[in-house]
Structures are given as structure tokens and as C-alpha cells.
């Protein structure tokens, strides 16, 4: 059942990503209804290992995003190394080899912007640990187009620079440690009673915008 709620999640992570994502994946329930799309800055050498590393920690199917592939729930898609990942309005992927952004390709900013134009207020953007500024601008776009932006609490991040940059840019709706991000995601998937959520003090309110969701 597709609620009038969130439709997709984009995640950006850089240094410290292996541990951070493993932890976040562990919080996701089987049957999680939202597709998850990830840009992870990772060294070429570490790329082959990462899927095997994540596979047993994640209830969803993990794969590399393919050009023109349809985006579906039940999957976690990773941007391929050395390509930017974009999203089309038909909810398919497009790849690009445009110049690096923030010295990065794939760039978190590029994915986040593209996803913001497609899903607007139906998008959740999550920025985790990292050592550069990629993603701060992207989070700003997501917020501007009505989506929800969640930043990993820099105090809990292995590399706090990236989350902190987004917070300093005023682009963070919520600042949470990973376990709490996981809890919040479970709620948006309908796996947790929203009433129960309120008791724990999570602000369930979506940011108000003048953009009509119609």
C-alpha cells in the first residue's frame, strides 16, 4: 500500500561508511517499503568487498545501480564507482561521467539534487560520517524541495566533518545517532506504531513548505 508519505531514501556517506552503513542496515526491517539509494565514497580497492560485507547485515537486496534500471522497493542501490548517479522522473537511474564535484565521483550532491527534483516532499535524505563537504549542498536542495533531511550526530560520527558541514549550512531537519535514524526509518515504513513514536519524543511533523504537494 503506497501511503501519501515518503517514497524514497537517499543516503550519502564517505569515510567511516563501512561501519556506519552496517549499523544502519541492521536497523532496517525485512520488507522495508522504501527504495534506498546510496552514494558511498570508497576507494577502488574496497569496492568488491563492500557488498559481501553488507549482504548479511541487510534484509534488503543490495546491488549496484544500473543505467536505465527501474527503482524498486526492497532494494538498496549503490552508485557505481567513478560515475555520478542521477534519478529520472520515471524513477529509473541515469549515470554520468561529468566532472567530479567536491573532488568526488560519484558525488552525494549530484544524487541528492537529482532525487530532490523527482521526489520533492516524498524524499528522505540522510547524511552520515565523512571527511569532506560533499552532500551539504545536496541536503539543502532536498530541504528546499520539501523533503526530510537527517544528519548523523557529529558527536557519534567517526568523521564528523561531512555531517557538520550540512548542519552549519542549515540543511538539517534532524540530527540523530544512527540507532535513532534507524528507528525513524522503521516508523516511516509503517513498521512502528506512530503513536508509540510520539511517546519517545520524535518530532513526527514534516517541515511545512509553500510547495503544494498536489
Amino acid at each position: 500500500m503506497k501511503k501519501e508519505g515518503y517514497q524514497a531514501i537517499v543516503i550519502g556517506v564517505s569515510a567511516g561508511g563501512l561501519a556506519a552503513l552496517s549499523k544502519l542496515f541492521g536497523c532496517l526491517p525485512a520488507g522495508f517499503e522504501l527504495p534506498v539509494i546510496i552514494v558511498q565514497h570508497v576507494h577502488a580497492k574496497a569496492i568488491r568487498q563492500r557488498f559481501t560485507h553488507f549482504n548479511d547485515k541487510c534484509p534488503l537486496t543490495i546491488k549496484e545501480a544500473e543505467d536505465k534500471e527501474t527503482i524498486q522497493p526492497g532494494f538498496v542501490y549503490f552508485a557505481p564507482p567513478d560515475y555520478h548517479l542521477l534519478v529520472e522522473r520515471e524513477e529509473t537511474f541515469s549515470l554520468s561521467i561529468d566532472a567530479r564535484v567536491n573532488y568526488s565521483r560519484p558525488s552525494i550532491d549530484v544524487l541528492f539534487e537529482s532525487a530532490a527534483f523527482v521526489w520533492s516532499s516524498g524524499l528522505i535524505g540522510i547524511l552520515l560520517t565523512g571527511a569532506n563537504n560533499d552532500g551539504a549542498k545536496g541536503m539543502h536542495w532536498i530541504k528546499e524541495y520539501g523533503g526530510l533531511t537527517i544528519v548523523q550526530d557529529p558527536l557519534t560520527a567517526e568523521y564528523p566533518v561531512m555531517p557538520k558541514a550540512a548542519i552549519d549550512a542549515g540543511a538539517a531537519d534532524k540530527i540523530l545517532p544512527i540507532e535513532d535514524i534507524g528507528e525513524l526509518l522503521r516508523a516511516f515504513s509503517g513498521s512502528v506504531d506512530r503513536g508509540e513514536l510520539n511517546l519517545r519524543g520524535f518530532d513526527n511533523e514534516r517541515p511545512t513548505k509553500n510547495i503544494d504537494r498536489g
Partner: protein, 275 residues
Amino acid sequence: MKKTDIENMEITLLLEAMFMRFGYDFRHYSRASIERRVRQFQGKSGGSRISEMIPKLFYDESFFEVFVREFSITVTDMFRDPFVYLSIRKNVVPILKTYPFVKIWHAGCATGEEAYSLAIVLKEEGVYDRTTLFATDFNDAALDVAKKGIYALDDARKFTANYQAAGGRSSFSEYYHARYQAMALNKALAENITFANHNLVTDSVFGEMHLIICRNVLIYFDKALQDRVLNLFCDSLVHGGILCLGTKESLKFSTVGNRFQTIDEDARIYRKKAL
């Protein structure tokens, strides 16, 4: 109506305007890539609304020139994805050697790095002298750069590493000399290369090729245009001719998939079946 829906309409109109006024057809490019470029350009030209760029396109010649330049150039590396060039040496060169004269088409050559990379491979494998290499792009500014064969000296290290990983038989420094803080490739490499303007969206077959290389161009097209171009390539190949795509591109969604056999799936090297 969502703001982003309105902006999408503006982009559609902008692309129509480009086509009507100048004949540049970006209407079947991947919309997400186009949108990104339009917004980057919007930012640079003072942040006016997307549709406000349309009158400028019609009446301001200099605006159009800058606009198209932003739209078209992608920079690439020499020997990008070295394992592909290794596969070309191992799997494709022996086939090329069976022909007395070889015609190769490098489609979407942009600023030329990959065309020169191929030229180096052909030289080292002893096939260069019998080869004519057509390197085409629809963007004249990119072709101008390609013809000069001058690149940033800062990239020398990266290119050298790629060259070696691609099975380079000699040393990359043999192929260029440093000049005014730049890397100037040897003129000899360009002798058998013809740089020409060709638009994959609108132009047709111009010759029969033994090898067509088109890497990381199709990703910028939508599915329909990808299919048009793959058909064009199929029609441009001799029987038994070779097609090499970018490592994240494929024949999977195309109508010509069954006319090719796979030589190296990872390197995206295919061979047109004989009748």
C-alpha cells in the same frame, strides 16, 4: 502543481527551442543529466527562471554559444578503465590484423583522450599504419581541443598509471613532451586520425567499420535514442565487426542485442554476427 513539475515543463520548452532554432536535438537525452546542466547554467547566468532563458536562446547568439558549450563537453582520461584496453589488445587486435586495411570509428570522442589512447595501442601492436581512425563528436569546440592533442600536465601521472595498467609496452613519456606546463602528445599519433563533426542523434552511416568504440556516451541518452544509436552502429559495422561500449552500458535493452555475440562482457566488447 509541484514546483519541480513546472520546471520540467520549462526544460521541455527550452529543448524544443534549441531544436527549432538551431537544430540541436537534446530532446531524447537523459532528462536528469540535461536538467543538471540547465540548472548549473541557470546558476551561472544570474539565476533567472528556466523559461526566461528561452528568449535569450532565440535572440542572443553569444548566449547560445556558451550554452551549447556547457551542454556538451565531458572530460575523460587517457586509458580510462585500463582493463578494457588490455582486452582490446588481447581480443580485438588479432581480429583487426586479419584485415589488410582497418577502419575504426571512435564515436563521441569529445576532447580526444580515448582516441589517442587507442592510437597508442594500435601503434604498439603494429596495426596503426594500416588503420584509418575516424574520431567524431557533434561539438566543434571539443573537436578543436582533440585536434590539438594538448592536455594538462597535472594528469601525466594518472595517465601514466593507466597506460601501464592497460598493458603499455613502452613508457607513456615516449608519447608526449611537456610544453608550457602542458602535455603535448606527439603529432605522429594524429597522422591516421581524422577528426570530424558527426551527430549521433541526427546523422547516419558514413562508412563500413571494423571496429566502433563509443564509451560513456549512450548513458546520456534515453532508451529510445540509445536504441537508435545502437542500430546505427550495427548498420555501420562489417560482418564480424566489433563494437565496444562503456563499462556500464549494454546491449541488454536494445533491439539489436541478438545480432551480436559477446567477446568480453566485463569490457563490453561485442562482435556482429555474420549472416
